[in-house]
């Protein structure tokens, strides 16, 4: 090496510095590895992680109130729920427009169902009000139409509201109403509807223009009719009445229908104001109940902690969260029961698996493999087969009871009830999860050298001491791995408790399934699921720390 005069960096074959060349190779290797992983990672993210994230989102999402009753929610902001009095006239007026549109779109019952989770009785209140909301202010509409027949004429309305062919248009209002209807019905309200409100008329009669625009959108998109050929909804006419009665200054207006509007305003000036509140109370006196209004107010923000509070037996009270009434508290009890039963199942799995794993790891290979089949066969057998087998075994006319009766240990009338209760769930699930405990224990125990115990024995330890002080501590990692695995699996079990659990042996997951498929309270199901998921993820993290996910063994 004496003839090396170059003191610069070491070069690779192609002349680049070796360090850079190696770095580049390493980077390429990393990229290739990531490239191989990417398809699966994307697949799992889309098909699995995104659904979980969606569920987490659903557990706090609560846009239905502000989507269905936007005006009411806005008016309600200034209402003081502690005053003990129902809100003022303005709220009821806003409720009228919102309710009218919602009942045309048939969305009011959905909101009623949603709010009924929080305050019983709201559902029927909404349903009955949706039916009769279009009766409000009938007299005023009649008076208007008696005054001049043009108020029944669809093309008059169309020209009035569009302001004529070449008038300045108010596209902003159209888009606003488009968004509102889209969020109300979750349908697409895009496209040309052949109507744009005129700028002048919507400045003059804002409520009427708004109501007519949503009528127009709904008519074209949902009913697939032509706007100019349909008579407007009652709500549009009521909005006109309200606009005119508010003392709109028509003196400067000279556009289409100016005379008719002036005549209508003069006529209406002599009429009393429309009593929206009275009308709603007449429809259903529950509209006076402050509790209902408080519920609407409390659940109006787009995100809520309400579902989570509900999931831990609490509710939103006047001043912050409060406990639910005693007879409605079930979830804490269910969580406790799930936890307790999972612990019992894990415990009994440890008790049963330890001797078996010990025996298997101490037998000669050939015998151990043969006996292993007895463990692996249940592991491979369909979960439903094992569950139905336990149903066959445990039921009152089942195999165990028949045997006991035949042996004379119990008499025919006193057959044991072993199914549809906690006992049934615990026995069946212990059996189902036992292989998951035996396998990790076995893989740990077969690495323990038998010489340690022999050494302890030869040093004078008794059977018990040599087991307890020498063997057992070495087998603890196996117990830990198996226990976490079994506990994680047990805590989220659904099928077995559903079939053999009856009412007292069910888990929180059964309640989640109930809320998804029967009561349709998806938000609550999502909140319960999120809590369960959090518990499992903590355990998963612990498992990863203790055992390492790479070390999971199958079969």
């Amino acid at each position: 090496m004496s003839d090396t005069t170059d003191t610069g960096p070491v070069l690779a074959a192609d002349g680049t510095p070796l360090k850079r060349s190696l770095n580049r190779a390493l980077r390429r290797q990393k990229l290739r590895a990531l490239g191989l992983i990417a398809p699966l990672l994307i697949f799992v993210l889309v098909t699995f992680i995104a659904p979980i994230a969606d569920m987490l989102f659903r557990s706090v999402e609560n846009q239905i109130v502000s989507n269905t009753l936007p005006g009411t929610v806005q008016q309600l902001e200034s209402w003081d729920s502690t005053s003990g009095e129902a809100p003022g006239e303005a709220v009821y007026e806003a409720l009228y427009y919102d309710m009218f549109l919602a009942s045309e779109a048939k969305e009011h019952t959905r909101l009623g169902t949603r709010l009924n989770y929080e305050e019983t009785g709201v559902s029927s209140l909404f349903r009955s009000s949706g039916r009769s909301v279009d009766d409000i202010g009938e007299d005023y509409i009649d008076a208007l139409e008696d005054l001049n027949e043009v108020w029944e004429d669809e093309s008059f309305w169309y020209t009035l509201m569009s302001g004529g062919e070449d008038a300045a248009k108010n596209r902003g209002l159209l888009e606003e109403e488009r968004d509102r209807l889209a969020s109300l019905t979750s349908d697409n309200f895009g496209g040309n509807i052949g109507f744009v409100p005129g700028q002048e008329i919507s400045d003059l009669l804002p409520n009427t223009a708004r109501a007519y625009t949503s009528f127009a959108l709904f008519t074209v998109v949902a009913d697939e009719d032509v706007v100019a050929e349909e008579e407007p909804w009652e709500a549009v006419k009521i909005a006109l009445v309200q606009d005119l009665k508010r003392g709109v200054d028509l003196s400067g207006y000279s556009g289409f229908g100016a005379d008719e509007l002036r005549a209508a305003q003069d006529m209406l000036a002599e009429q009393p104001d429309i009593a929206f509140k009275e009308a709603f109370l007449e429809m259903d006196e529950d509209w006076a109940a402050t509790d209902n209004w408080r519920t609407i107010q409390v659940y109006s923000p787009p995100f809520t902690t309400g579902y989570f509070l509900n999931a831990i037996d609490m509710q939103k009270g006047v001043d912050g969260p409060e406990a639910r009434p005693e007879n409605q508290q079930i979830y804490i009890m269910l969580f406790k029961r799930t936890l307790f039963m999972s612990l019992v199942i894990t415990g009994s799995c440890i008790l049963l698996a330890y001797p078996v794993a010990y025996l298997l790891s101490n037998l000669p290979m050939r015998t151990a493999n043969l006996l292993m089949i007895l463990v692996l066969l249940p592991f491979w057998t369909s979960l439903l087969v094992r569950t139905s087998a336990w149903k066959v075994m445990l039921q009152q006319q089942g195999v165990i009871n028949d045997t006991l009766v035949w042996l004379g240990l119990v008499d025919d009338a006193g057959r044991l009830i072993m199914i549809n209760n906690q006992f049934g769930t615990i026995v069946a699930m212990t059996h189902i999860l036992l292989p998951f405990m035996i396998l990790p224990m076995y893989s740990v125990m077969s690495t323990i050298p038998p010489s340690y115990v022999r050494a302890a024995r030869s040093l004078g330890a008794t059977n018990w001491t040599s087991f307890w002080r020498v063997y057992f501590p070495q087998s603890v990692p196996g117990i830990g791995a198996g226990s976490i695995l079994v506990f994680i699996l047990a805590i989220g079990y659904y099928i077995t408790p559903e079939i053999v659990g009856g009412t007292t042996g069910t888990f929180i997951s059964n309640r989640i399934a109930y809320h998804i498929s029967s009561s349709l309270n998806w938000g609550l199901a999502a909140a319960l699921g999120s809590i369960l998921l959090a518990a499992v993820l903590i355990l998963y993290w612990a498992y990863d720390k203790i055992v390492g996910i790479d070390n999971v063994k199958l079969g």
């Binding site: 390493l26 098909t47 079969g555």
Partner: protein, 391 residues
């Protein structure tokens, strides 16, 4: 080889132990005949007498065991017909063996010579306890099989079945399974969903496992945690999330929705088994292939794939059985058109209880025995291959 001294044990000791076992068996026989107490005493007396006779007067093992077996079988047949005969045969064989096993002291042959009597006792007590746990593990599965041949629509053994009367047995539940449209529809759904889901998870999973097991993978742990999560997250939560999310995408209630969901659930199993196989894979083989001019694709298919194939196949079998067995997710993501076999069993168990379920269960157990055997054979082959490769 063995240094343990095997010597005959004192007759009173043997007689006492055998009598205890005889009393236990006598309890069952006595109960079946209507008098438990008599059974206990008769059992103890008869077996003790046999022990004494065989160990003192008639010490010819082979002949003695034949006599006991056939004798008890004949007595059993006389009292309880075919079933009684079988039970008698089993009892006779057991006691014939048990008496000589104890009496000749053969039970100590596999134990170290220094073990005390108490240790011997604990040793066998432990084995009996383990035997009972194995019994607990296997009985429910075994009980289902004969019940599926029940001639009645019961979930329990009928007296005809216990008498081994041919009239108590029939194949009608199997016939029902193969002719009933609901069950056939469910079976075809299962058979068409599971392979596609398996194919998806195996092809994506194998590639990713190869990527994961290369030496320099950034973010290995978090990626692994995400890929394994479908196995850890409770099924009901996966089902709920998929139900919400797939309905947004319009996949809820479609064939492909169920396939995608099942593929996601099967992925962890493929990842785990294939990465475990790759741990033993010798990287110098791929380098050698590259050195000789093979491009990465050829190297993969000609060198790496054949060696890790057992792992891939057993991962695939795990994924297959996951999809084939899965019921929670399909209950939510699927609609009536995607009703699979486990779903049909689940509704059957919850609503109308029909013994056809037991016939299906027996068929499924047979399938799982086949799968288990395949996986075991593959595992051994893979271990052999690993032993073959250098390094």
């Amino acid at each position: 080889m063995t240094i343990t001294v095997i010597e005959p044990k004192p007759v009173p000791f043997v007689a006492a132990v055998v009598a205890a076992a005889g009393a236990f068996c006598g309890l069952f026989v006595g109960t079946a005949q209507g008098n438990s107490l008599l059974g206990v005493f008769a059992g103890a007396a008869i077996t003790a007498a046999l022990a004494v006779v065989f160990l003192t007067v008639f010490r010819q093992e082979k002949a003695a065991r034949w006599i006991t077996t056939l004798g008890t079988a004949a007595i059993g047949f006389a009292f309880g017909g075919a079933m009684g005969g079988l039970i008698g045969l089993a009892f006779g064989w057991f006691f014939g063996w048990f008496i000589f096993w104890l009496g000749e002291g053969r039970y100590r042959s596999k134990l170290p010579p220094y073990t005390t009597s108490l240790q011997v006792f604990y040793h066998f007590l432990f084995r009996v306890i383990c035997g009972m746990i194995f019994f607990f593990l296997i009985t429910p599965i075994v009980v289902v099989m004969p019940l599926s041949f029940n001639a009645e629509d019961f979930f329990t053994f009928t007296p005809e079945m216990l008498r081994l009367d041919p009239e108590g047995y029939s194949l009608k539940h199997y016939r029902d399974f193969f002719t009933n449209d609901d069950w056939q529809q469910a079976m075809w759904n299962s058979i068409s969903i599971a392979p596609i889901a398996t194919l998806l998870s195996v092809s994506f999973g194998t590639l990713a496992a190869i990527g994961l097991s290369s030496e320099h993978v950034p973010f290995r742990r978090p990626i692994m945690a995400i890929l394994i999560s479908p196995m850890i997250v409770p099924l009901i939560i996966s089902a709920a999330g998929m139900y919400f999310f797939y309905s947004r995408l319009g996949l809820q209630g479609t064939f492909w929705g169920v396939v995608l969901a099942h593929a996601a659930l099967g992925i962890p199993f493929v990842i785990i088994t294939v990465t475990a196989t790759l741990v033993g894979f010798d990287r110098s083989l791929t380098r050698a292939a590259a050195n000789m001019g093979a491009d990465p694709v050829t190297t993969f298919f000609r060198v790496q794939m054949p060696l890790i194939l057992p792992g891939v196949i057993s991962g695939g079998l795990f994924a297959f059985i996951t999809s084939f067995d899965e019921v929670v997710v399909v209950l939510f993501v699927g609609s009536a058109g995607q009703k699979t076999l486990p779903w049909q069993m689940f509704t059957g168990l919850r609503e109308q209880i029909s013994p056809t379920i037991l016939a299906v269960a027996t068929i499924l157990v047979a399938i799982s025995i086949c799968l288990l055997t395949t996986v075991e054979l593959l595992r051994r082959r893979s271990e052999r291959l690993r032993g073959m490769s250098p390094g």
